[in-house]
Symmetry: C2
Subunit: 157 residues, 2 copies
DNA sequence: ATTCCTGCAAAATCTTTGCAGCTAG
DNA sequence: CTAGCTGCAAAGATTTTGCAGGAAT
């Protein structure tokens, strides 16, 4: 399973292949996405990189995330509440579990996705291209912490 | 299974119970939501009702849809592409199959939702509150129609 | 040298809110 | 009557786009 380092090299390789420039900002954005296990939002990526690139524009983050998405190297998780988070480690449809309190996102072990998609396709006659399996709830940490925010509190919006 | 008529009466009843006024606009919005099997968007509801209420504001549709949602009588389907559609017939988590071409939305017969949510909860330690199972693909009509739009073409955005 | 990229600011969406007058109960 | 609702317009929030200067190849 691709870890941060492997994914980074993989994505950089694909950018080269497609003739895209490897600017410091771009590389930093890629690094931020693949090194985080938090499925960061554009805002979070931007905030994190402002330390290194004080003038970096939000538009640049948007543009790069869109580029990576168009290359199939990042999965966009647009949630019902309007928040957007990105997964650069597993850029393919897979289930997510979201804590509605601290906004933590976990990738559960669950093989059902593929077969479920196939079953739905058979039942409806659709040619299924992709899917979203999202579960929303309260994580163990937040449950234990009571009403207050839990450990890795990270706002998605 | 609640049909349009049943749902309409049910929703009106709940509004009364909660002391909400039954304005003509509100009733028309409810009717539009429960009579459509198309999971309409706010824009679609508004467009449809402009014939009867030429001065009806988009804000009014938004406010009423939000009210119904807050009462648990409508399920909001916010999709990754930013489009929003509403289901007034089955206002509880259930799977959807979306045609990415004509934007048709189908409710597949699929019982797995509940048990899947439970399995995910067990596996992750989350207390699961709700879920979203969305499948995206090409419906049979669109497949048959080739590149052109299919029968009930309805833009979601 | 070229082509692509960045930062800034303006634009474009989509949704929410403030307010004055109107309406259902 | 009184609380709640509507329409209009303005405000918000988030994401996209135009442009001129600057970098990467």
């Amino acid at each position: 399973m691709a870890d941060g380092k492997g994914r980074y090299a993989q994505i950089v390789q694909k950018l080269k292949t497609h003739g895209h420039h490897l600017t410091p900002q771009r590389l930093a954005i890629i690094k931020a996405i693949v090194e985080s296990d938090r499925h960061p939002s554009v805002e979070e990526i931007h905030a994190r990189l402002r330390k290194t690139f004080p003038t970096m524009s939000l538009a640049t983050v948007y543009r790069n995330v869109m580029l990576l998405k168009s290359l199939g190297e990042v999965l966009a998780l647009g949630f019902p509440d309007g928040s957007n988070r990105y997964d650069g480690r597993h850029p393919f449809p897979h289930p997510h579990v979201v804590c509605v309190r601290c906004k933590k996102i976990v990738d559960p072990e669950l093989q059902s996705g593929r077969e479920l998609a196939r079953a739905v396709g058979d039942a409806t006659g659709f040619r299924i291209l992709s899917h979203r399996l999202d579960f929303f709830g309260i994580c163990r940490d937040c449950e234990a912490a009571g009403k207050k925010g839990c450990g890795a509190g990270q706002a998605a919006k």
